[in-house]
């Protein structure tokens, strides 16, 4: 295990100084969504799952909340997001309701997939949110096609596509990014490099130090950002979107981060050297961002507590409703395989 490659000290070190930081309203939104993501996933993983109420596996993005939030917070409604399995913030920001999400995890009819599919495979065309499938990297060519449809119709829209470091080993990553680069379509590829793919550390996944190094092969910019700094992510994504909106094609953004859990709820991550968790705990994206805001007088301890309260209330309510939501009817099994005219 090459500790150096994943040493967070090697990253930008603290929050970066932005030339024009986002307006305060946006900053507050970012904090809210990061905290909402954390608490929502905490409830799913540590409460509902242990109570046996969750159906199937549970994958959370603890420690990685800054990525989806920083990337998605400023998107326009007409832009399209293709998240992956540690991007809960993307679903929330796009407008997927808490009740829908809890219902999804409890396999209810009111869930995003009406009980047809599990956990984060949630999507809604009205929200311009396209769900991934389990096959890692399959969403990459799909995002390329989404962006292609914008370009061919001269629509001023962009697609954002998320995936992990491990997914970049798949052929579909290569084919999808390459095609996007050749056709110069408006898509931004965002890799959460959390140093592991299940039990497989980065150096068993690729022989380069950075996922961003892969961009060289496609003739597109590759940028490394501190994925635990929501503003750094925000900044890099904003620039990449700007670039792609004016026709310069895709960017690959690598967000260095760390998976502060096992791969899924049933994995204790025994294969991860303990010191790594400690190192990265110090760079917790939420605590850092709270510090950033309070140092600048943009939030008080009381303000933080209020957000927490609001989040708890919203979540409690959503769980209450979702728990009473019905399971799908058995006969629903047969529906929607094809268009039902």
């Amino acid at each position: 295990m090459n500790l150096k490659a994943v040493n967070p000290q090697a990253l930008s070190g603290g929050t970066i100084q932005l030339t024009t930081p986002p307006p305060e309203k946006t900053l507050h939104s970012m904090l809210y969504f990061m905290k909402l993501t954390r608490e929502l996933e905490f409830r799913i993983e540590r409460k509902l799952y242990r109570q046996g109420k969750i159906v199937g596996g549970v994958y959370v993005g603890r420690g990685q909340e800054a990525i989806a939030v920083g990337a998605c917070i400023d998107l326009r409604h007409e832009d399209v997001v293709c998240p992956s399995h540690r991007d809960m913030g993307a679903f929330l920001i796009r407008g997927m309701s808490l009740r829908t999400i809890f219902a999804q995890y409890m396999a209810r009819k009111t869930g995003a997939t009406r009980g047809k599919d599990g956990n984060m495979h949630m999507g809604d065309l009205n929200l311009n949110l396209v769900p991934f499938i389990s096959m890692l990297a399959d969403n990459i060519p799909v995002a390329t096609g989404i962006a292609l449809s914008f370009k061919m119709r001269s629509q001023d829209r962009v697609a954002l596509c998320f995936f992990g470091d491990g997914a970049t080993s798949r052929g579909d990553f290569h084919e999808g990014v390459n095609m996007a680069a050749v056709l110069k379509v408006p898509v931004v590829f965002i890799c959460n490099n959390n140093q592991y793919a299940y039990s497989t550390p980065l150096e068993r996944q690729m022989a380069v130090a950075n996922v961003a190094d892969r961009a060289e092969a496609y003739g597109i910019p590759g940028e490394i950002v501190d994925g635990n700094d929501v503003l750094a992510v925000w900044d890099a994504v904003a620039r990449a979107i700007e670039r792609t909106r004016i026709g310069h094609g895709p960017t690959l953004i690598e967000c260095k981060t760390f998976r502060m859990t096992g791969h899924s709820a049933h994995d204790d991550a025994g294969y991860v050297p303990h010191e790594l968790f400690e190192l990265w705990e110090e760079r917790d994206p939420i605590k850092r961002f709270e510090r950033y805001l309070s140092e600048r007088g943009m939030i008080t301890q009381g303000g933080i507590e209020e957000i927490d309260k609001r989040i708890n209330r919203e979540i409690d309510e959503a769980i209450q409703i979702a728990e009473k939501d019905p399971f799908p009817d058995p006969e629903d099994t047969l529906k929607d395989v094809y268009h039902e005219g």
Binding site: M135, N178, H339
Partner: protein, 324 residues
């Protein structure tokens, strides 16, 4: 009036749909400047421009993936596989992303994947495959296999308009061998409807694709002996025309299932099951299959000749069954 070949019929069908519907576009390898390996998209780049006839890198999986993405955004992509054999490289996107999308989250994926398939051209194991069953066995897809120029045109148009993913197998052997006069008006052939190519009373031969002609040839031969074959061209395999199949079997009481694809797990098995389940009392003899043997498609002419089902096979089996 002029005769239209099978391959030209496909081209016309795509062309007309592209004229009518701005959402329709083509993507694939060498479809643009070259007009496609079989010239199905010849002239389209000039007419429709490079953003509707898109030359892509050699990336079958991304071709299909990109088609899916565009379809989700309201487009009507036609993805070309240069040969049906290469559809294997896009298998995951087709069977997992495209096929299951509507079921999972209600978002249909109206794409067409064109796949030039079939043997008889000495293409060997990688340019002669009939991969239809991989997709027939995948709920959420539709699969069509036209055998005439009329159907080639009518089915490509139906496929383009269809709200679900359609795999369109065009038989290479028929491209320039089959011609007919086509109506000049806008017509489609509905997906899921079979056609009876020859009415008969003794034995039903149920088939599709290039084998339709094999069956007809056999029927001509058998006519001389007073054996009257009914030849049914399924045209669509998923969904297939259950009613037409059962009606024919109930009429003739004897059935031969014929396809160019290999035997084990071929479509004939599905048909045999359906017939046995739903028309068992009508059967006056065993259900007989005539298919390619369970091997890759060999390259050398004597091998390929041996591999492909022949009219003489149909004649032989029909005689046996007639005498049963």
């Amino acid at each position: 009036m002029a005769l239209t070949t099978y391959v030209e019929a496909i081209r016309q069908g795509i062309w007309e749909e592209m004229e009518k519907d701005e959402r329709v576009f083509v993507l694939g390898e060498d479809v643009g400047i070259y007009g496609g390996a079989f010239k199905v998209t010849a002239g389209m780049l000039e007419r429709f421009g490079e953003w509707r006839i898109i030359d892509t890198p050699i990336s079958e999986s991304a071709i299909v993936g990109a088609a899916i993405g565009a379809a989700l955004m309201g487009m009507r992509p036609i993805a070309e596989m240069q040969f049906a054999d290469f559809i294997a490289c896009a298998f995951d996107q087709i069977t997992n992303f495209a096929a299951k999308s509507r079921y999972r989250w209600g978002a249909g994926v109206p794409i067409v994947i064109r796949a030039p398939s079939g043997g008889g051209v000495h293409g060997g194991p990688f340019h002669s495959q009939n991969p239809e069953m991989y997709f027939v066995h995948t709920p959420g897809l539709k699969v069509v296999c036209p055998s005439t120029a009329y159907d080639a045109k009518g089915l490509i148009k139906a496929a383009i308009r269809d709200p679900d993913p359609v795999i369109y197998f065009e038989h290479k052997y028929l491209y320039r061998r089959i011609k007919e006069e086509l109506p000049s008006d806008d017509f489609i052939v509905p997906i899921g409807k079979a056609a009876i190519r020859r009415h008969g009373t003794d034995i039903s031969v149920i088939t599709y694709g290039a084998m339709v002609y094999t069956a007809l040839e056999a029927a001509k031969e058998l006519e001389k002996e007073g054996i009257d074959l009914e030849v049914m061209d399924l045209r669509s395999l998923l969904p297939f025309d259950r009613e037409a199949v059962l009606d024919s079997v109930k009429k003739t009481n004897k059935v031969i299932l014929l396809h160019e694809d290999t035997r084990i797990g071929g479509f004939a098995g599905e048909l045999a099951s359906v017939i046995s389940e739903e028309a068992f009392e009508y059967l006056d003899g065993p259900i007989r299959r005539i298919t390619a043997p369970d091997t890759p498609v060999p390259y050398s002419p004597p091998l390929e000749e041996f591999f492909l089902p022949k009219a003489s096979d149909v004649v032989r089996v029909a005689r046996e069954l007639y005498a049963y």
